[in-house]
Amino acid sequence: MLKTKYLLTFFILLFVLFNANAKKEKVDQIVVVQNLINQAYKLGYVDAAPLEMDFVEKKVIEARKAREKRKKKVYANLIEQIKVDLKIVKKRYEVNILNKQLSVLQDDNLHAQKMLDELQGQL
């Protein structure tokens, strides 16, 4: 009897924990991803990688559908894909900024070199 009582308590606890974690994960991951997407838009990442952002948006829709259909594996995969896609988007954005900086510096240096050549021509 006592053994059954402990076993029952254990299963109840396990059930509660499992349900609580599952619910938390479901809500948190989609919110996290959405927050990341919103931040990406806000920071202008979409200009750096519009195609990737389009895929991300589609994957978010698919993830929502998977969550609704309780396809946990698909949902988890999609969430993971969205996260890595957003990392790529962010990195591409950073690379773009760096390329722009480089381009400006190269232009400046080209101009400076031309100016130097002209000055040396005057010497």
Binding site: N77, Q101, L116
Partner: protein, 323 residues
């Protein structure tokens, strides 16, 4: 049995196709990864990201991934490769940016140096131009000074020319005056000659105790001397004719002076004048033995010696045709 065999074949075919598809996908991933690591441009960069990509690809190839996680693993491996490429690109770009910044710094330094050098050149040119301007100003001043000197010289020359002209004018005027004087002198001389001639022609004779006497005034002689004026010589015919009227009579010539000077000198002068008249008469054909000449000095005045008119009368030579 036949259908079962067909089903097995289909399953085998499907399995082998799936396997071939997986192999192609892995090969594609491996190729992707190899392209990344073999890219010389990005070789030194994103080492940890490349390592992660390598591990994820190797896990798939070595079948270390559970079958149910394979799709996600493939996706993540592809992501890791792409991410590593982006990281490498970012690091390469950062490195290029650093190089460009260094280059910009070098260029800026070179430009500053060149600008400083040009500024120094400009300053040197400005200095040279200033010196040239100063030299030009000095030359202009020298030219102006020279021009002033030349102008001064010209003025002086003009003044000298003016003076010379004035002197020439004065000289010409003096010459003219001299010519006038000469003319006047000539006229005077002519007048004097005429006067002398008239005087000689108007000489009167008078009868004295000694005989007929003709008196020659001192106008016949040069002033203070015993020589007879040439004009008187030329017009002496009346005297000669007077004497020739009495060809056989003796002629006495007496010289007289005024009281000016010493007796001795006056005596000598009167004698010399009497001799001069005698010699002239001889020259004009009068016989010398008939003529006697005596100097009387100032002893026999005929007028008062206190006045010039009296003195003039006393200075005389008397020609007496003795009876």
């Amino acid at each position: 049995m036949k259908y079962l065999l067909l089903l097995v074949c289909l399953m085998f075919s499907s399995f082998s196709q799936a396997k071939r598809s997986k192999d192609v996908e892995f090969a594609s991933l491996e190729k992707d990864y190899n392209n990344l690591v073999m890219n010389l441009k990005y070789k030194p960069y994103a080492k940890s990201a490349k390592q992660i990509a390598k591990l994820s690809v190797e896990a798939l190839i070595n079948r270390q991934v559970k079958k149910r996680d394979k799709d996600l693993a493939v996706y993540v491996a592809r992501y890791n490769i792409a991410y590593a490429r982006l990281v490498a690109e970012a690091e390469w770009t950062e490195n290029e940016i650093t190089l460009e910044k260094n280059k910009a710094l070098t260029l800026q330094v070179a430009i500053s140096k060149a600008e400083a050098q040009i500024a120094r050149q400009d300053a040197e040119i400005a200095r040279m131009m200033l010196i040239a301007q100063q030299e030009e100003a000095q030359r202009s001043k020298e030219r102006a000074d020279l021009a002033e000197i030349v102008a001064q010289n010209s003025l002086e020359q003009a003044a000298m020319s003016k003076k010379e002209t004035e002197a020439a004018n004065r000289y010409a005027q003096a010459q003219e005056e001299e010519a006038d004087l000469a003319k006047q002198e000539a006229e005077l001389a002519i007048e004097e000659i005429e006067s002398l001639r008239r005087k000689l022609n108007s000489i009167a004779t008078e009868r004295t105790e000694k005989g007929l006497m003709m008196t020659l005034g001192d106008f016949v002689f040069d002033s203070g001397r015993s020589t007879i004026k040439q004009e008187a010589v030329d017009n002496f015919s009346k005297v000669v004719n007077f004497i020739n009227t009495y060809p056989n009579n003796k002629v006495q010539i007496e010289g007289h002076t005024d009281s000016t000077g010493s007796n001795k000198l006056n005596l000598k002068l009167s004698q010399l004048r009497a001799d001069a008249v005698k010699n002239l008469l001889i020259k004009n054909g009068i016989q010398a033995e008939l003529i006697s000449a005596t100097g009387m000095g100032e002893e026999l005045p005929i007028a008062d010696n206190s006045s010039e008119a009296g003195k003039a009368k006393n200075r005389r030579v008397e020609i007496i045709i003795l009876q």
